[in-house]
Symmetry: C2
Subunit: 325 residues, 2 copies
């Protein structure tokens, strides 16, 4: 297996991606790594790898067309290398917009896929496992047919990464009952009810995502973004309140000394670094977008996600499912 890494995309520079690549290499020394970036900056890594020199970096606010012209950038070169060398996966912490456009254009969509989706794992606070959510931002609004394809992608992701055999898929909506939701949502509900490829459980309200019985949540990209970010904001806000509650007075500070281990675990559960990255599902390779501000551990976890997805053959499974349609 071969994984291509964009070493220059992280907000924290190549120090973070180098640490991440080294961490991943320690865990999986058998995997071939192709590192794309400044050869000077990458010269001191203590393990063997294929180097592709790229001196340019894609700026965060660059438009899609500008990005594609930046052929010497580490982001575009990493994706091109993945295509030309037929690598299994590519990982980048660079600009999301740039990553999405370049991946769709260079890696190409799988036959039959209308629109790729950005997929991520969310913590399942009920079971301690994970919930797959898609689309979280590759699109703004999606058609019913796109949403139905997302359900299939999410099912394959849940099987591959979370090891759930027959994942329960729900459609994000503003009410649990059928007939609730946007026009696209209502039409998607119908398509999903009729599909034999997925285990459809009906609508899910946003309040039931983290603690409900869903393994996969399907939504339009804009609403997926609101769901993800609102959860992130609430978790961050509450962490602040927890800190404040413990700092309240001498008694609460003593309380912290006794209880902090449990709270360290809670923090870990909600740490965005633990999910690693988001998959652009629907293109002909495993394309994983790591968080822009990934540190070493975050970048290593993103490579791990790419590794697992490639190892389980998610691209091939999706191709096969699309042929069967």
């Amino acid at each position: 297996m071969k994984i291509v890494l964009d070493m220059m995309g992280s907000d924290k520079g190549s120090a973070a991606t180098k640490e991440g690549a080294a961490l991943f290499h320690e865990r999986h020394p058998e995997i071939e790594l192709v590192l794309v970036g400044s050869k000077e900056e990458l010269s001191d890594l203590p393990f063997s790898f294929e180097l592709v020199d790229a001196q340019d970096v894609v700026e965060m606010d660059m438009g899609a067309i500008e990005v594609l012209r930046k052929k010497e950038s580490s982001l575009v070169k990493a994706i091109s290398t993945c295509a030309t060398e037929k690598a299994d996966a590519v990982v980048s912490a660079g600009s999301t917009g740039a990553f999405l456009s370049a991946s769709a254009l260079i890696l190409k969509k799988i036959e039959g896929i209308i629109r790729p989706a950005l997929v991520t794992n969310f913590p399942n606070l009920r079971t301690g496992g994970s919930i797959v959510i898609l689309d979280i931002g590759a699109s703004i609004r999606n058609t019913p047919e796109e949403l139905a394809q997302f359900a299939l992608m999410g099912t394959l992701y849940s099987q591959a990464v979370n090891g759930i055999k027959d994942p329960k898929v729900r459609l994000l909506s503003n009410g649990a009952e059928e007939g609730k939701g946007s026009e696209e949502g209502k039409a998607a509900y119908k398509l999903l009810s009729e599909s034999k490829l997925i285990n459809f459980g009906g609508n899910s309200e946003a309040s039931k995502v983290l603690t409900g019985d869903s393994d996969v949540i399907v939504t339009s990209g804009y609403d997926g973004n609101i769901l993800l970010k609102a959860t992130e904001g609430a978790a961050k806000g509450m962490s602040g309140l927890i800190k404040k509650a413990f700092k309240r007075n001498l008694f609460s500070k003593i309380g912290y000394l006794f209880a902090h281990r449990g709270f360290d675990e809670l923090k870990k559960t909600l740490d965005p670094r633990s999910t690693g990255g988001a998959l652009l599902c629907g293109v002909r390779a495993v394309a994983v977008k790591a968080h822009g501000n990934s540190d070493g551990l975050g970048f290593a976890n993103a490579i791990e996600v790419a590794y697992r997805l490639a190892n389980k053959g998610i691209v091939e499974s999706l191709e096969k499912a699309m042929e069967g349609k």
Copy 2:
């Protein structure tokens, strides 16, 4: 001032609404209350009020047209009474859909308002104050013009209920920069930038709502619902994790004994009952929807919200602002 109360709408029956009405009467004995509901059930209240007998109750899953035919229901009768007696406000814990349709039809829209919006207060975790959010579910998608009117409604609500003189309004979006968002959102951004009636601060990502610098968040109803419910779900999920963290072992249990006062406060901050209810803004009276599962305190707080809004003349302010346009 006269406030009409639907006494039969709560999931918890008239015990909850009676307790709520009594609590409110204790706080504001000078306010005239009109209680609509079964005269038998309301016979034992220990204070004087006007009684309107209504023996029917609107079922939770009734369609809008069915509801309006239920003229003898406490919900429809409460809203009609508010209109015919020219009361200042009406409060109901009944079905949201029924309340929205009956209010819009019977109370009528304020001249110039395209579409009423459902408005609520959210805790501001940064300041300890409140953030106004609208629409949280009167519509699914809203036009740019509707969103621009929501900004004005939210400004008036923030001034009246939260006492903020020049509230900062932001538009919910999937990115902070201009040019992010849905087509309606982008067009609304332009309208809001040009408006002289509001203090527009640009877009807000969902992650910044609870802890950012906004006093008012404007959004389409569907996305407002996702934002509200995702926050509720995350808060609930985290409360569960906090409990678990404290129950972890003997040490953490001792920690709880020391720290619990701070956590009781945290719980209070996030208690949905403390916000009381949501205003249907844009109709010709203060129409407040209390939570369906309101207990006595929750229902009392909803009446309190209605009282404050009526006291500050939010309907008249909105009418004046619309005339000025």
